[in-house]
């Protein structure tokens, strides 16, 4: 299996803090890869480094054979990466429709694709012309994800999508991620909730103190509770 995205020896500094200490991993094409780890382990930083928002100070980031670690964020995005940040970052002053128009970039909104999105996020159809700022937290998360998939993207970077959401919405999101994968996208997903992670993930990466400490099959890790305990420690219990 080929890797769509690879990081090798990536170091990232934020101000005077050295956050990533040589991160190496590959994200196999067409799969959903989970990135797990404690708070502050470097998960969000990893995604932001890939996007060029906190550029790597050394190391290589390769997307489909192209080196991207030196490129500016907009250029990286235009290579076909959809990004769903932890804060969701919907444009609250804009309507749902306007948020998606911006996300579609130069393309017009595609009706059939919208119908597909409305299929698992019906709320977006209902609130189509409402200001995004007036949506609930779960609806904002749906909009943020819809923005990343309104046009076909080869890679999706999704940061803690289920954080703070009601269980019913989490179920909808899990269904959505499966749908997106079926359409052929590759996903790198940061998740704190192991229950959710084991339902979505094909493979798994565990990061700690800015280094990848485990890579493997999601199913294998799901079975091995001792390893889970060892890698994820207390954060696991909190969710089970």
């Amino acid at each position: 299996m080929t890797d769509l995205l690879t990081l090798s020896g990536v170091h990232t500094h934020i101000g005077s803090y050295h956050v990533l200490h040589g991160v190496d991993f590959g994200v196999p094409a067409g799969q959903t890869t989970m990135l797990l780890g404690r708070n502050g382990a470097g998960k969000t930083t990893t995604l932001r480094t890939i996007m060029g928002l906190w550029p790597a100070s050394s190391g290589q980031v390769t997307l489909a054979g192209q080196r991207i670690e030196q490129r500016a964020t907009p250029d990286i995005a235009r290579l076909g990466i959809g990004y769903v940040p932890e804060s969701m970052a919907v444009f609250s002053d804009l309507t749902v429709k306007e948020n998606l128009i911006l996300a579609a970039r130069d393309a017009a909104l595609d009706d059939s694709r919208l119908e597909w999105i409305f299929g698992f996020f019906p709320a977006l159809r209902r609130f189509w012309l409402s200001r995004a700022g007036s949506l609930s937290g779960g609806q904002k998360q749906m909009l943020s994800i819809a923005r990343a998939i309104v046009e076909p993207r080869q890679l999706l970077l999704i940061d803690e999508p289920t954080k703070g959401l009601a269980p019913a919405i989490v179920v909808a999101l899990i269904e959505c991620f499966a749908e997106i994968k079926r359409r052929g996208a590759t996903i790198l997903l940061v998740e704190q909730n192991f229950n959710v992670a084991q339902q979505i993930g094909d493979s798994v990466l565990v990061i700690d103190n800015g280094r990848i400490v485990h890579r493997g099959d999601m199913a294998a890790l799901a079975k091995d509770t001792a390893l889970q305990e060892h890698l994820l420690g207390l954060s696991l219990e909190a969710h089970q």
Partner: protein
């Protein structure tokens, strides 16, 4: 494109209308104090005209701050440069300016204003590249750099045009007033109001009806996410900076004609006024800037009529009052 009806639309968020009503309330409240209807109309028209001109000058500043978190302390330089550049057209063609023909007058005013905007806009390009690009995200250095730019620009104007005040007479057909009953309305003020309204509506149209406008509004709220969606916001910013500078140049030209004189220190004087407007409106808010400009002009005109002594500090009092009510200005931009 699917244009879906929104049968179950959320209850519309309450639009914050109180600031919009403020100028209206102020104007109505002043009417009985002023007494005579004709004075009230004259003062109100004067306020609207002055407010529109200040708005034109301030709009660029507030947009640039909102979009890129850059406060240009040298904004006044663009105002002064615009006024000086306009004299390059208006003074040699004084014959057309003095001709008693609206057509000839406008035929010289329009190119003067356009040239002023072009030069100020081009200067904006240079300032953004040379002074501001190097200090993005560093407020302290931004203030210092752009203040330095203001000094240099003002001195360069003195060096090029000399320190004397340049008289700039109004075109003949724009002098005087329309008389309706016992109410006199200065013609130039009407023109200023018209231009100001066109600029305001133009900005609103661009912001609300175009993709560029969507990008600017999105960028004001979350610059990073706009970049992560694949837009080169730096380029967008440069564009907004140039447009803002050009508008300052236009405002400077209009202000110079209003005062019928040009002087390099006008940049400094107007900077203060423009800052007060931008603070009152809420840093980054165009609507707030518009209302703020009207309020400042109203307080100056009504105040000057009722309590001339108070007019000296009326702007500050207005600013203090507004900030007591809303510490971040009339319309605080959400993400800041």
């Amino acid at each position: 494109m699917t244009d879906l009806a929104a049968p179950e639309a959320l209850p519309k968020p309450k639009r914050d209308l109180l600031p919009v009503l403020l100028p209206v309330i102020l104007a109505l409240a002043m009417a009985p104090l002023i007494g005579s209807a004709s004075s009230w109309v004259t003062l109100t028209v004067a306020s609207l005209a002055m407010g529109m001109m200040i708005f034109i000058m301030a709009s660029g500043l507030t947009l640039v701050f909102g979009l890129m978190d850059v406060l240009n302390f040298g904004h006044g330089a663009f105002i002064a440069v615009g006024a000086y550049v306009a004299t390059l057209v208006l003074l040699p063609l004084a014959g057309w300016v003095q001709a008693d023909s609206l057509l000839l007058n406008l035929a010289v005013l329009a190119p003067a204003a356009l040239l002023a905007m072009a030069v100020s806009g081009a200067l904006g390009l240079v300032v953004e590249r040379v002074l501001i690009l190097a200090v993005y995200g560093q407020h302290l250095k931004q203030i210092l750099m752009t203040t330095g730019g203001l000094i240099v620009a003002e001195q360069a104007l003195y060096a090029l045009w000399g320190p004397q005040i340049i008289p700039l007479p109004l075109p003949t057909s724009l002098r005087g007033s329309f008389i309706i009953g016992d109410i006199a309305i200065a013609k130039y003020r009407l023109l200023a109001m018209l231009v100001g309204l066109v600029v305001f509506l133009g900005i609103q149209l661009v912001l609300n009806r175009t993709k560029i406008g969507l990008l600017i509004r999105a960028g004001v709220e979350n610059r990073e996410m706009v970049e992560a969606l694949g837009y080169r916001i730096r380029r967008l910013f440069l564009g907004v900076f140039m447009v803002g500078s050009a508008l300052a140049g236009l405002g400077g030209t209009m202000w110079a004609l209003y005062r019928e004189q040009v002087h390099a220190s006008m940049g400094n004087d107007l900077t203060v006024l423009v800052f007060i407007v931008v603070i009152i409106g809420g840093l980054g808010s165009i609507g707030g800037c518009f209302i703020g400009a009207l309020l400042v002009a109203m307080v100056a005109n009504y105040g000057g009529f009722l309590v001339p002594k108070l007019a000296l500090v009326s702007n500050i009092l207005l600013m203090v009052a507004i900030l007591m009510w809303r510490p971040r200005g009339l319309y605080a931009v959400t993400s800041r």
